[in-house]
Symmetry: C2
Subunit: 509 residues, 2 copies
């Protein structure tokens, strides 16, 4: 042995920003996905699945954080041909590829929903992972803003179906065309190529309003701003008059949608694109009202711009309005857990001709965290098994037969598969959160009986009990019945038990 080369032993570790998910969370997330599916299908969207990776040129580069290698995506060569593929960073870019490839045979508009993992090559942090789950709905080929209004309603109904109550969330909408109108009114042509960078700088400045406040935004719209660390961010170099116009635009936010629309009227009166954007918001308001969605559920807010490059019209965000304690024990608003908007140019990348489209996406892990913070996580159905102990290794066939009898009756159950003694087996059952254990030792076998032990009451005790004999004498929370009554007795004990189990769950939350 000493002569053998030292074996390489890899360290069992997760890649950066990745995580494993255990049974309880999987159960809760599956419940959430079912509810989202229910709402998305109620709205008439149909399911689609696309592969995990696509040709890199098909995905395009639309992520806001492009300083990272590969512009935030994970890319690799497909095979010896040297074509590059990338793991999808959202579900919208693959949809655009799918629609472009299958355009002629799809119903127009094409209304699809999709859920799945997406991957981003971003700096991981607390609660910020490199693989996460999105749940999207999109209408492709829908010119009318009725499609945008519907997604706002879908968003609101989805969050309520997940268990959020009215007042804990808001869908907040805006229209990038109105901002363009304000720019035009201020003397900047927003569609001129030479103004592209300036327009983007304005968008990014506005996106920082909530975090940095009005004064910082003023600086970012003007010469620029030095942050606390001394780093200087170059500004959009607007004139003081132009800055005032943007700032008064941002101040038109209000509780009622009609008031926001009224406040915007004058600001965009001289801009065609601005009037168009305002008309679209008016139409959306009308549809929302007709659909029964008041401003407590869907609000208008001029400060919402969204980070992704590809939006061309209405944009929206799903915001949680309640406060919760963050890692530093400070009360903060939970913030956004999804959003979307209109992207009329994304399919045109492939086809040339414009194909209007709009979408909405919920971040499932964010929604999970929000429901957890609210204590509203629906507990997954308890998956506690019944464990049949192996008291005598020679009698495994008998125990196996008992397990199959229980399974045949639809009772989740398992045979203890290790080789340890009684005490370790009870510890195992405890760690598995088993509801009951079934025991047939020699005594019972001779008498044609079995003993069923209630683990909820028994687990505490088991730690103190040293051996089989002592255990049997303690006879706490257990029942001995004829072997033939196994299934009936287990069913009865599980039925009386379920109250206790639910109670335990309730105490946790």
């Amino acid at each position: 042995m000493a002569k053998k080369q030292k074996t390489f032993r890899p360290k069992p570790r997760l890649p950066k920003g990745m995580r494993d998910i255990r049974a309880d969370e999987i159960g809760a997330i599956n419940n959430m996905l079912e509810k989202l599916k229910e709402t998305y299908e109620l709205y008439g969207f149909e399911a689609l699945e696309t592969p995990a990776f696509e040709y890199s040129d098909c995905l395009g580069k639309f992520l806001p954080d492009q300083d990272r290698p590969n512009a935030g995506v994970f890319s690799f060569e497909e095979d010896e041909d040297g074509d590059w593929v990338s793991l999808r960073y959202d579900l919208t870019a693959p949809l655009a590829r799918f629609v472009a490839a299958n355009y002629d045979q799809l119903p127009k508009p094409f209304r699809r929903y999709q859920t799945g993992s997406v991957w981003r090559n971003e700096k991981p942090g607390p609660g910020r992972f490199r693989q996460f789950t999105q749940f999207d709905a999109d209408s492709v080929g829908a010119d009318s803003v009725a499609a945008d209004a519907e997604l706002a309603m879908l968003g609101a109904d989805s969050l309520e179906n997940l268990g959020l109550k009215r007042g804990d969330y808001q869908i907040v909408m805006n229209n990038r065309k109105i901002l363009d109108g304000v720019l035009e009114s201020a003397g900047i042509n927003p569609s001129a190529e030479e103004n592209e960078l300036q327009r983007l700088t304005v968008l990014r400045a506005i996106d920082k309003l909530e975090r940095l406040g009005t004064e910082a935004v003023r600086q970012l719209l003007g010469e620029g701003r030095k942050d606390d660390s001394g780093d200087f961010t170059k500004g959009a170099e607007l004139t003081p008059g132009q800055i005032d116009q943007i700032i008064s635009y941002l101040a038109t936010g209000s509780a009622e949608r009609g008031d926001v629309l009224g406040g915007l009227e004058e600001l965009v009166a001289n801009s065609e694109i601005g009037r168009e954007g305002l008309k679209e918001l008016r139409d959306i308001d009308e549809l929302l009202t007709a659909g029964g969605f008041q401003a407590d559920r869907v609000r208008f807010d001029p400060t919402i711009v969204r980070g992704l490059d590809y939006y061309t019209g209405p944009v929206m965000e799903a915001e949680l309005t309640f406060e919760h304690k963050n890692e530093d024990d400070q009360l903060v608003r939970f913030g956004s857990l999804g959003g979307g908007g209109r992207y009329d140019g994304l399919v045109a990348r492939f086809r040339g001709a414009k194909v209007p489209a709009t979408g909405f996406s919920i971040g499932v892990s964010r929604a999970y965290a929000a429901l957890e913070a609210l204590g509203k996580l629906e507990q997954a159905k308890l998956n506690a098994p019944v464990v049949v102990l192996v008291m005598d290794q020679d009698q495994k066939g008998r125990y196996q037969a008992m397990v199959q009898q229980l399974r045949g009756a639809g009772i989740k159950s398992e045979l203890y598969l290790g080789t340890s003694g009684m005490r370790a087996q009870l510890k195992y059952a405890d760690k598995r959160a088993a509801s009951l254990v079934v025991i047939e030792g020699e005594d019972e076998r001779t008498k044609g009986e079995i003993t069923i032990k209630d683990m909820d009451e028994g687990s505490e005790l088991s730690k103190e009990i040293e051996d089989n004999k002592e255990w049997r004498e303690a006879k706490v929370a257990q029942k001995t019945v004829p072997h033939a009554d196994l299934v009936a007795a287990v069913k009865e004990m599980l039925a009386t038990n379920s109250g206790v189990a639910s109670q335990k769950e309730a105490d946790k939350s």
Copy 2:
């Protein structure tokens, strides 16, 4: 415009070996996943999810087809640190990493199930994709072959829960230790390092028995074999006497498990590892019989060896026994749709100390294809929406309100979101397989009425009808009711409709 640089237009195409999955198949697959989950949980396995990629050294190299680049996996650099990661090629290697990383806090045995996509960088072909879904159960830390027997039972019960009937499938088991015993009896020490290649060549020869027949296997066990194309495969170079021993071992297959065990007895009598393997199969037989699983469900067959390198003991395959027509219209057996076995060395890669483990995996796409071939695919619940037509673009608010009323009553419904006229809208509804359309034109509005059209009967007709007026006069399969009765009337028509819809589905299969 002419001066503008020609814009780059990517071709909307799928990466090689990838596919999109549409709503009907997604629905059917989700039903299958639910049923598999039900059986796996009934057996007391708990869910786990691991990320899509892992550090390459954690996954290891165990794929049979190692001639491809990256040994069959998709690999890339994680980020600027230069660590390599690989998309998982199965769900077993990530489980070994998870168990090694969390060993102390897990219950032992750790019984987990997992479903998800896996990726293989293999040559794609018809029905052979580079991304596919597996559904696995594994018991880690379970020394006893009761764990292997249980997985065979799980496999059989899972396939029946999916809708396969007894006789259409078999779980076929063997034990690699018995083959080692036969080798040992033939004078070849199977655990000696210098015999590793020879042993592997024997395994591969046996793996080809069903495809090539006994004579070819004889050649592959001896000098080697020239195939039809003239390519020569070097053989294991056994002596004629040794070859005879292997061939008579392979012939011990029989309908009854007891007969197989009897036939093997003499062949391994002189080998310790062989006797151990036989003892394990005897124990498995006893447990299967106790669990009520006869040889029509779980059979023993010495010719089963499995392709993956890491198996160390009992191995099993889920085989479909019925015949179906392949692409060339030939009747062929459907073959394997999953399998597994014991891999006592995989966690030891990380920890040094041996951690016994055994697993079973179902190929979900293979199972889908099998159910499809049998005409047993459970149709997904029909997701046909009710479409509210937009007869008058100015009245969208009214239509939107109707849609929300229907949704409020739990009826899948949508507003037509395009801008086309009546005829195109009816074609859209037809393409969406809509159950009903709801129509409120000016006539109806004036009278406070709506018209509901049954699309099942109406779709044929709509192709011939040119305009609104003609349509209205045809009045086929439609009903006009007071506006206030919208929800009630739709519900009633859907109820009488559902018989028709099911009928249509039944005709398809």
